[in-house]
Subunit: 205 residues, 2 copies
């Protein structure tokens, strides 16, 4: 158990897939509520925040409008960085987003992606030589563009220690439950999944 | 197949559980994208909109801020009404929300709830004598408060025709995939689940 809340920061951008960020947001928030309710932790185990280029309202994929909590030039402590996927043209072509991800990655203990968020991490130069995964529809592009990567398929996520990448959309929920198990214990993760009525089994190993 | 887009309206309110609305929002949106991509439908099969008391930003549970598309006094066509759960004190004690749900229910073809959203429908007087379900933690309260209901447990959702209620949080995804199967066909639902990398099997019957 850690002696202070872990800061979970979720990148938002125009075109982001809704469930890619909402799934992890829900998991870490429910885990926090459950841990406090059940006395698993004396303090909130996680604090979840969203960050984007600006704090203005932004339009996610399918037109949901969300307001980020923080913007790139804020001083933002971060223990777990989550980079979701979706329509990634904006972040892939925005030097500020790539620079922010690189800057956050230098200090975060745990760098993670959901779905095509892995392509953002790759473009930011943060995956070199690593074992990773992504949405099944993006496996080929990731392999062809970054032949040095060990791109795994047919797994919900790849836990490479300080780097954890997940497969598509819902797999961000599976990955987040796995991280709750890693950081807060298997019981906390199982109770969180049960509270969410999500069918989940942690991967062995 | 229907000859025009079906209007899906999702109720939002302060305290709403994020995944309760984001899950169904994602399912109907992905189903629409897939149907157009694969030529299953000549037009968008679903149009997804959110509605709340006002179009101002509102704070969902765990502090995510979302801007609704419409407000209660808008003229809003609705074929599928989704009433999510969460911290339901605000809608349960707000006559305007209950009146809006009743008004929408009079014209919608399909009235649905996620999680403790069933308690909102019950309070609005829309469940009388029906077979329903809700989050496992709310089963007892629903039974005790509304003894005329046939409250089912250990099922992801109960399809009672024009009324479909689902269990907790993630079960809104299962219910929405079931509705996609019902409205657009089993192949469309399976392809949507696969796109979302969501483990899903439609219930028999």
């Amino acid at each position: 158990m850690f002696d202070r809340p872990l800061q979970v920061v979720i990148l938002l951008y125009p075109g982001i897939e809704i469930l890619d960020f909402a799934g992890p947001y829900e998991v870490f928030s429910v885990a926090t509520r459950i841990a406090l309710r059940d006395g698993l932790s004396a303090h909130a185990p996680f604090i979840v925040r969203t960050a984007a280029a600006s704090r203005e309202l932004l339009t996610a994929r399918y037109d949901l409008r969300v307001q980020p909590d923080a913007q790139f030039d804020d001083e933002l402590p971060c223990d777990v960085l989550i980079v979701p996927g979706g329509v990634i043209d904006q972040p892939m072509n925005d030097p500020d987003t790539l620079a922010w991800v690189r800057r956050m990655a230098m200090t975060t203990g745990l760098l993670t992606s959901v779905c095509s968020g892995a392509l953002i991490l790759a473009k930011a130069g943060l995956l070199e030589g690593q074992s990773v995964t992504t949405h099944w529809a993006d496996i080929q592009e990731l392999r062809e563009s970054y032949p040095d990567l060990d791109v795994q398929e047919n797994v919900p996520y790849v836990d490479a220690g300080s780097l954890v990448t997940s497969a598509g959309i819902s797999a961000g929920i599976d990955m987040s439950l796995h991280l709750v198990a890693r950081l807060l214990g298997a019981d906390a993760a199982r109770t969180t999944a049960r509270q969410m009525q999500y069918e989940w089994q942690d991967m062995p190993g």
